[in-house]
């Protein structure tokens, strides 16, 4: 039993009960259906902006991209324009591939010591696949939810839904994204629990968002396929929230409020947590800079002068030995005593 995931699981169960019971007490609906969602959205927006600005305040003093391929050098040497881009265009493509396809994670290998003395590295695609499935299905679900806020529902959303439901089974038709999201989040949870090294590095704050997102997906699926939530009522609430005229019809059950509360908690938790990786990836200096630091000078805004050991100081110390070894010197020994004043002090940084 691991205290980290137990704590997180219990926290999510408590949140569930809080909302489920909370909406039943007087004023609970307003609290969970309007006040908390608004606060959550404000926290999310302000928090994320604050964090991003905070990152932005710190400069990027050096150009330190991880070069994952051949540098651009001689004209006849083929350079890795995506893995070691020398141009901004290359960097943009590299970033798109990182953000949309998790290119670095795609490289993942699994190391094993075989027969006691042979190291092997095998391509490990599951984490990459799981992460991809998780993020893409989550994005799809999120976009699909826009239909609740928009009347009439735009054609592109209807089209997305059509693709999402291409299996055409069940009534209401099964939307793949929700199922994939639940499966992927379960996979990510299970690997944290069962792979010893991953469990060892996992904090309660790693389990909590997974349980929470599991809760979001689970309640969503329950509502759509099993408890058959009143969609018209749900849409009324959504549009009410979006237009700042909250309206809370009685026909929408407790499960809906749990779902909404989970999402609110997720939004409010976001800026204070590792979930900020969503914004952070754009700021990663090992990925978002071109590898051309020998061709184009990078400026460090806080570059300050440092104490250096100048050539003059060096020659002063070794002049005799240098002359003996036949090395050219700036000053002959005779001149040393009269001009020694020139060679003192530490040099300033060159401009």
């Amino acid at each position: 039993m691991n205290v980290n995931y137990m704590v997180s699981l219990i926290a999510v169960i408590v949140l569930f009960l809080l909302a489920y019971v909370g909406v039943k007490v007087p004023g609970g609906q307003v609290l969970f259906g309007a006040v908390i969602p608004y606060l959550a959205v404000i926290t999310f927006i302000v928090g994320v902006i604050y964090r991003v600005i905070d990152w932005g305040h710190s400069p990027v003093p050096f150009r330190i991209p991880s070069t994952c391929g051949q540098q651009k050098s001689l004209p006849w040497v083929k350079s890795a324009s995506l893995d070691n881009p020398a141009t901004t265009g290359g960097v943009i493509v590299r970033m798109i591939l990182e953000i949309l396809l998790f290119r670095s994670l795609f490289r993942n290998t699994k190391c094993e010591l075989k027969e006691g003395d042979k190291l092997s590295y095998e391509w490990e695609k599951w984490l990459w696949l799981g992460a991809l499935a998780f993020h893409w299905s989550f994005a799809t679900v999120l976009i699909r939810h826009l239909r609740l806020f928009l009347e009439p529902v735009p054609a592109c959303l209807q089209f997305l839904e059509k693709i999402d439901g291409f299996l055409q089974v069940g009534l209401p038709g099964v939307l793949l994204s929700g199922v994939v999201l639940l499966a992927a989040v379960t996979y990510l949870l299970l690997r944290r629990i069962f792979i010893p090294q991953v469990r060892y590095i996992s904090l309660a704050s790693d389990f909590f968002p997974l349980f929470l997102i599991f809760g979001v997906a689970f309640t969503g699926i329950l509502m759509r396929y099993f408890s058959k939530v009143d969609v018209v009522g749900a849409k009324e609430i959504a549009i009410g929230l979006a237009t700042f005229h909250p309206s809370l019809p009685e026909s929408v059950g407790g499960l809906f409020y749990v779902h909404l509360f989970f999402v609110s908690v997720l939004l409010a938790y976001f800026p204070f947590s590792k979930l900020m990786h969503m914004a952070g990836i754009f700021f990663s200096p090992t990925r978002n800079l071109p590898g051309n630091s020998r061709a184009v000078r990078h400026i460090n805004p806080w570059n300050y002068p440092v104490a250096v050991h100048t050539y003059e100081e060096y020659e002063d110390e070794f002049r005799e030995k240098m002359i003996e070894a036949g090395l050219p010197v700036e000053k002959e020994i005779v001149a040393e005593s009269t001009e020694s004043a020139e060679s003192t002090g530490e040099s300033e940084e060159k401009e």
Partner: protein, 545 residues
């Protein structure tokens, strides 16, 4: 090799990838002999004017820390967060997916969970969260925050000197989190408390004073070069005469001092000297070495950004003093990471030099037009491409070569093709190691970032296991007997590594092999390689020993 070093099989059998039952925050660090480097000599720290010089011993309970050490760390951390976006972002966005875990050679070789890059970073992140984040202040351990205590400091010191800043983890990280960057910051913090290691601090002090890590004074430097010139004369019949500190030379050559000091780097130095002599005779190439800037490497990089800048300043200062057109850099790993990522920014602009053009081929090195510094592998590859070298490849026929990408040149620069191109043109037998262990996925020698001391031999051997294992693979499969590299730390670190794990494989620099193959104008019949070992089939007939 120290006598008490365990045998290879013993070390292998000790590897256990299963983490301990107790959580990492509750597992106290025990500093183990063979796995750490000695504390710095206070004289070196003092010479450099770095903070809190004193004698101390990592094994002691009392590290003689300044009274307000926690405050120093806290303020240092704050300053770094304000100065480095990389650091700030890397402190915030790790999701602990674990993709980096088994990418680190120290984790692969030890199984110690705190050698997983993610956990190495968490050692520092935990204190960051406690001191600088709201969630950390309120929720503490739940969100991975903990207070800085002496035990935590000890843990930092132990594990941030068990990272070679090789960046292998960073290429697998979906956010590009670079543990090297985190280790650099952590060591900078430790440096604020005078917690340096001697294998770094003393070379830095030497370099500051004499121009090179080894403390070679100018006359001694010349002596060694004379000695190499004698060897070259014996081998080829040609007397080469390198120039030093020459004003008005076209080009300044800077290489790590390790190459003029210890085998097998010395043979690489001989290779350079032969190449430069050849180019001078044939094309009037005018290059000079410097005794003041007689160090390419920069152990300041393993101390702090400021110390790196202080040492690096010599390169441009000397180029300016001598009035050269541009600088040519020898084979070295972290030297090139510094040149590529930091030099121009820190000590530039180098507007007193010209954009580098090879005087022999006319090639413009566009990729180095701002730093004005060209890598010798680029330079030589260009010469070979243009057919400017007279090579007898058969003098490398006794070598079955594989190539080790230095982590720094691979992941901090991306010079992958040029050295391979050179090798393929100077020797007939070249075999690559498995794809997951070369190029950008190359494994560190296990001794980088100032860890190639004598007292931490066990650490170096377990750290180099992944590299050695891949060499062993090509050794057994193809009979590889020579491991080529373009890094002076490699040339110092890989020979004992090979002796330990793959005893029949030797280590060479790229330009040693160039020297072997290069025909000097007017040379005598060559019967030995640069190591003065007889070349099979080319032995002197009347000299059957």
């Amino acid at each position: 090799m120290p006598d008490d070093l365990a045998k290879p099989n013993e070390l292998l059998s000790k590897i256990d990838y299963k983490p301990s039952k107790t959580g990492w925050m509750d597992t106290l660090t025990e500093i183990r002999t063979g796995m750490y480097c000695y504390a710095s000599n206070p004289k070196s720290v003092e010479y450099l004017g770095l903070p809190h010089a004193r004698g101390w011993n990592p094994l002691d309970e009392d590290w003689k820390l300044p009274e307000n050490w926690k405050e120093i760390i806290h303020n240092g951390l704050r300053e770094q967060l304000d100065r480095f976006r990389s650091f700030k972002v890397f402190m915030d966005i790790c999701v602990r997916c674990g993709a980096c875990a088994d990418k680190c050679h120290f984790f692969i070789g030890t199984g110690d969970p705190k050698n997983m890059p993610v956990l190495r970073a968490e050692l520092l992140r935990s204190v960051y969260r406690n001191d600088f984040t709201t969630a950390g202040k309120i929720l503490g351990k739940m969100v991975g925050a903990r207070e800085l205590t002496f035990d935590v400091l000890k843990e930092w010191w132990y594990y941030f000197f068990q990272c070679t800043e090789c960046r292998r983890c960073s290429i697998f990280c979906p956010y590009g989190i670079d543990t090297a960057e985190i280790t650099i910051m952590a060591r900078e913090l430790l440096n604020l408390l005078g917690l340096n290691i001697d294998w770094i601090a003393t070379p830095v002090a030497n370099c500051y004073r004499t121009g090179n890590h080894l403390g070679i004074q100018p006359h001694a430097y010349i002596d060694m070069m004379d000695f190499f010139a004698d060897d070259i004369e014996e081998i080829t019949g040609i007397k080469v005469e390198p120039s030093f500190n020459k004003k008005g030379a076209d080009i300044l050559f800077i290489t790590p001092s390790g190459d003029v000091f210890a085998d097998p780097g010395t043979y690489t130095a001989m290779g350079y000297m032969m190449l430069f002599h050849y180019l001078k005779e044939k094309y009037g190439f005018d290059i000079t070495w410097s005794t003041y800037a007689s160090e390419g490497g920069n152990f300041g990089f393993f101390t702090s950004h400021e110390t790196m800048k202080r040492l690096n300043a010599k390169m441009y200062a000397e180029a300016k003093r001598l009035g050269v057109k541009w600088i040519l850099g020898g084979e070295c790993g972290h030297m090139w990471r510094v040149i590529n990522q930091y030099m121009d920014t820190m000590n530039g602009p180098a507007d007193f030099m010209e954009e580098p053009v090879s005087p022999i081929t006319g090639t413009k090195f566009e990729n180095a037009k701002s730093t004005k510094m060209v890598h010798i592998a680029e330079f030589t590859a260009d010469l070979i491409k243009h057919g400017k070298l007279d090579l007898d490849v058969s003098r490398n026929d006794h070598l079955k070569v594989t190539y080790h990408d230095s982590c720094n040149t691979a992941r901090g620069m991306g010079i992958l093709h040029e050295p391979r191109y050179v090798i393929k043109n100077i020797c007939n037998n070249f075999f690559e190691m498995p794809a997951n262990t070369i190029r950008e996925m190359t494994f560190c020698c296990g001794s980088g970032s100032g860890l190639n001391a004598g007292e931490d031999m066990e650490l170096r051997m377990v750290g180099g296991l992944a590299r050695a294992n891949a060499v062993k693979y090509v050794h057994e499969k193809h009979g590889v007997n020579m491991l080529a590299c373009i890094c002076a730390i490699d040339r110092a670190a890989l020979p004992p590594l090979m002796e330990y794990w793959v005893p029949d494989v030797d280590v060479t620099g790229l330009h040693e092999m160039v020297g072997n193959a290069l025909n000097l104008p007017g040379q005598k019949e060559r019967t030995t390689d640069l190591r003065s070992e007889p070349l099979p089939g080319m032995e002197e007939e009347d000299n059957a020993e």
